[in-house]
């Protein structure tokens, strides 16, 4: 049941090491502070799930931020009503976003292609409006849902006295802040990656790939494709809910803007940038986008002056002037350019670039993605 071939083990071990050593290798980039690394881990989970729907099954959802929002709201409510422990908060977040995904998926999956995308977009915008105004008693509207000193927290208060300040989410007493919070998210990211890897390499994953490749053939091959697409939709919705729950664990508040269509678009962008359909790619895309958003946007002219100080006088000013357009407020410009370059020259995303470089070095034909498995010796079970 937990069989892995050598390639799986290498990929999984590589990913685990990459994630857990993040505080070390991110240091030179200036991104090794806990809040950003938590974001990296959380959006990694988000896009791994999104990729199961988009990359494997071929259904482009433009509304996945809705599940992220549902997850966040649910987790904050779990903190307010029951306990500050992260585990029940995440369980409820996953379950409720799963319920939302069943309903939204059931309706949206009646169509495919662009119509499916539009339906998911419409649903997500409805969720956003509900959260922003209609359901204010539940979501606290534009002021965001937050913890208060008067929260009932029935489970916590049955065992301990109410403290003086606002409590922080914890894992059986371990506060989920700073590096501890990051490692909690990182371990969940590794588990999420493991599950996605299982799905990708299973007959179920193969069926999803078949649906992406040729749904008509799947019908005439005896597959009832609707429950498969719904399962993929619900699984990816639950991943998004888990990510949303973790956002609340690391920072216990939930706002409606998390569900807006720009947030959904960002998830699509991350996945395509990194390489849809690959296991690593979407995660790398998510990290790049979040890095650009947090580090690039903080660059200012003095940083640029330092950077270009090697240039002769008179040259420095124009360089700084041009570069300044692409940093700080203009980081979206950089991201947009990067996205265009990748889509035009590497339609398979950054992972395609990595693969091309790999084949250059190895100088032998490479069978693509999962099919490479069959080419080599199978280890004994």
């Amino acid at each position: 049941m937990f069989f892995m071939n050598r390639r799986d083990i290498l990929v999984f071990a590589g990913f685990t090491i990459l994630v857990l050593t993040m505080p070390i290798w991110l240091t030179p980039t200036g991104a090794a502070y806990p809040a950003l690394m938590q974001t990296f881990a959380i959006y990694g989970i988000m896009v791994i799930g999104f990729n199961i729907l988009f990359g494997l099954t071929g259904y482009l959802s433009f509304g996945h931020a809705a599940f992220l929002g549902v997850g966040s709201y649910t987790a904050v409510w779990s903190f307010k009503l029951l306990t500050m422990n992260a585990i029940p908060a995440l369980l409820f977040a996953v379950l409720l976003s799963g319920v939302f995904a069943v309903v939204i998926g059931y309706v949206s999956l009646r169509r495919s292609g662009i119509y499916f995308s539009i339906l998911t977009l419409a649903f997500a915008q409805m969720c956003y409006s509900l959260a922003y105004s209609v359901l204010t008693p539940i979501t606290n509207g534009e002021t965001s849902l937050q913890l208060t000193l008067q929260d009932p927290r029935v489970i916590d208060l049955a065992f301990t006295e109410r403290g003086s300040g606002l409590p922080v989410p914890n894992l059986f007493g371990l506060p989920m802040t700073g590096l501890t919070g990051f490692y909690f998210c990182a371990v969940i990211l590794v588990l999420a990656f493991f599950l996605a890897q299982r799905i990708t390499n299973s007959p179920f994953g193969m069926t999803l790939k078949g649906i992406k490749s040729n749904q008509n053939r799947m019908d005439y091959t005896g597959f009832n494709t609707r429950p498969y697409t719904l399962a993929a939709f619900v699984i990816s919705g639950m991943y998004a809910g888990l990510a949303g729950g973790l956002l609340a664990v690391t920072d216990p508040l939930a706002g409606a803007e998390r569900m807006q269509w720009t947030a959904s678009g960002e998830i699509v962008l991350m996945t395509i940038l990194g390489g849809a359909g690959t296991l690593f790619g979407p995660v790398i895309g998510a990290w790049l986008v979040k890095y650009a958003e947090n580090i690039f946007s903080a660059f200012n002219e003095s940083v640029l002056h330092n950077f270009f100080s090697f240039l002769p006088d008179g040259m420095e000013e124009p360089f700084v002037w041009v570069a300044a357009l692409f940093v700080g407020e203009g980081w979206h410009l950089t991201l947009g350019l990067l996205f265009m370059i990748v889509v035009i020259f590497l339609p398979g995303g950054i992972m395609e670039g990595v693969r091309r470089i790999g084949t250059l070095f190895r100088r032998r034909p490479d069978t693509s993605d999962g099919s490479a498995v069959s080419a080599k010796q199978q280890p004994a079970e």
Partner: protein, 256 residues
Amino acid sequence: MTTNDKDIVLHVADVHKTFGGLHALSDIDLQVEQGKTHAIIGPNGAGKSTLLNVCVGRLAPTSGAVIFDGHTLTGKKPHEINQVGVARVFQTPEIFPELSVLHNVMVPAFAKRDGSFSLNFMRHLDTQSDIRSEAESVLEDVGLVAQKDVHAGSLSRGDKRRMELAMCLIQHPRLLLLDEPTAGMSRHDTNTTIDLLKRIKERGMTKIIIEHDMHVVFSLADKISVLAQGRIIAEGSPEEVRANPKVQEAYLGGAH
């Protein structure tokens, strides 16, 4: 009819199909015997493909019924029809171009083994050695085993067709529907395909073939139904059909 009912695998009973005012199929009554190869021929626009689409659930007949082995196929979805044992090869190969040839053939085997829906995501593909070796042996049959690791999309048209045939064969269907299996093939590829289809016949699989190429039809068919303007105008053994003056007229009439 000399055969009794239990030898009839597929019975197309009094099927009509109209598109608006156009009578695509009228009074079609067709009985296909177990283990036989039944060819449906006719000029362009005679309704051959419509008839096949009615059989596999792609089109619903306006009236009448299609009965396969005691199951009424009329109104069933394509995947339900496949699950009772009907497989289909399309006029233009319907394959999974992004997957390897081996995986193309393994996918239908999962539908056969696990049914139309199964959440089998805790199993690893590499542990499915029974299905893998079966897929390899079917690919051996159609002569594609050497290409099992290449992308199906990069195969030649003739190889795609043979692979599609392998995708059907691995399911061991009771009835195989072939829509112009040799269209666009070279003479050499056509002959290879004929040999292959003859070999399948020895396994007792029932087949319906739609074909334009008379060489293919007369090499394979046990029985031929001639369709013209949505009606069956002649039926019988290849020799009977060849000698039938109505058939010659329909073909000449269709061509001019």
